[in-house]
Symmetry: C2
Subunit: 204 residues, 2 copies
């Protein structure tokens, strides 16, 4: 690592890459605040202090912004699931624990994009494609649960599909209240969720 | 087959009570499908096969329908919480179990209204009032968790507030996938959720 790398990055206002990241971040905030369908490119331009034509200089369309946001969320979740599945030296229950833990970390790290993903209802081809990718990830997570049950690591009196829905339902519910500036650290939230899910609430 | 009781019920189109219940049910469906803000009274009239003026004969406004839906959800949840809190002969952990179980049953029984409630973001005085009532119920549920922890019934290594958020986050996440016609019975879902929350996933 050279000394240059240790310098703070210069502000790059006006450089397309930087502006595009800002536009995407602000777009996701606005979509989450007032709904994707109810948000116009005019609303986004006003929020950014851009003219509409300046906004279209940075991004081709509202759909393109949605696509980028959903890809951010889905790519990061897919990375977690792939990493957990690839741990073939670990027990199935360890793979499942890592998937739960990684999902929580990813949800908090990419909170706005994941929140947007979780609200998608399939109103456009981009949304339908995102729902299809979500179903694939859900199926992979349910398979991890089924493997942990088959291995004898987790209870078998509840169908693995139902366990998976309840477990990742609890994970996804974090998007309703977790705030990056909240007083509970992401670490503490992830630890608590994993402890409750695997060990339960009852006093030892 | 001649007995009157075996005849199909006559259609009561035009009877105010019946029509008002139908209008509310269809309104909630539409609000959940396309969002409250994006739904007009014209959309609702079209769905019901009414003229807009006929619709206004039944209900004074869209806000009135929202208010009725939110009241339905909040009143039923408040009943569950009050019942659990009033069981002063029971242990705190029993009261908490009953609150969890009752919340699941209520969510499934009043699924459309509770789904609408859970999506409210505070965009109007009615929504802000509903959020305030939800916070009161959440505080009462968190108090039940705190009592169960103080009594020694549940683990004390996680703050009761955080337990309550995760526990009822799992309950609320049911609204994302439970369907009244689904293959898993409400009973089985409630049993599974309660078992996972209290006993955890680990094999006994």
């Amino acid at each position: 690592m050279t000394s240059e790398a240790a310098q703070p990055a210069p502000r790059r206002r006006g450089r397309p890459g930087n502006d595009q990241a800002t536009v995407l971040r602000e777009a996701i905030e606005l979509f989450n605040l007032q709904g994707y369908d109810a948000t116009s490119m005019g609303d986004l331009a006003a929020r950014l202090g851009f003219t509409k034509s300046a906004l279209y200089h940075h991004v081709p369309s509202k759909e393109h912004l949605l696509q980028q946001a959903l890809d951010e969320a889905l790519d990061s979740l897919a990375t977690v699931v792939a990493a957990a599945r690839s741990e073939t030296d670990a027990t199935a229950i360890e793979r499942l624990r890592h998937a739960v833990r990684g999902s929580v970390d990813t949800l908090i790290e990419h909170l706005p994009a994941v929140t947007l993903l979780l609200r998608v209802r399939g109103n456009s081809p981009a949304e339908l494609a995102a729902l299809a990718r979500r179903r694939e990830l859900d199926a992979a997570l349910a398979e991890l649960v089924a493997q942990a049950a088959a291995e004898g690591g987790i209870r078998t009196d509840i169908p693995p599909d139902l366990i998976s829905r309840l477990l990742f339902g609890m994970v996804n519910s974090l998007s309703e209240w977790v705030r990056p500036s909240g007083r509970t650290s992401p670490e503490a939230i992830a630890e608590a969720l994993t402890a409750i899910a695997f060990e339960g609430l009852l006093a030892p």
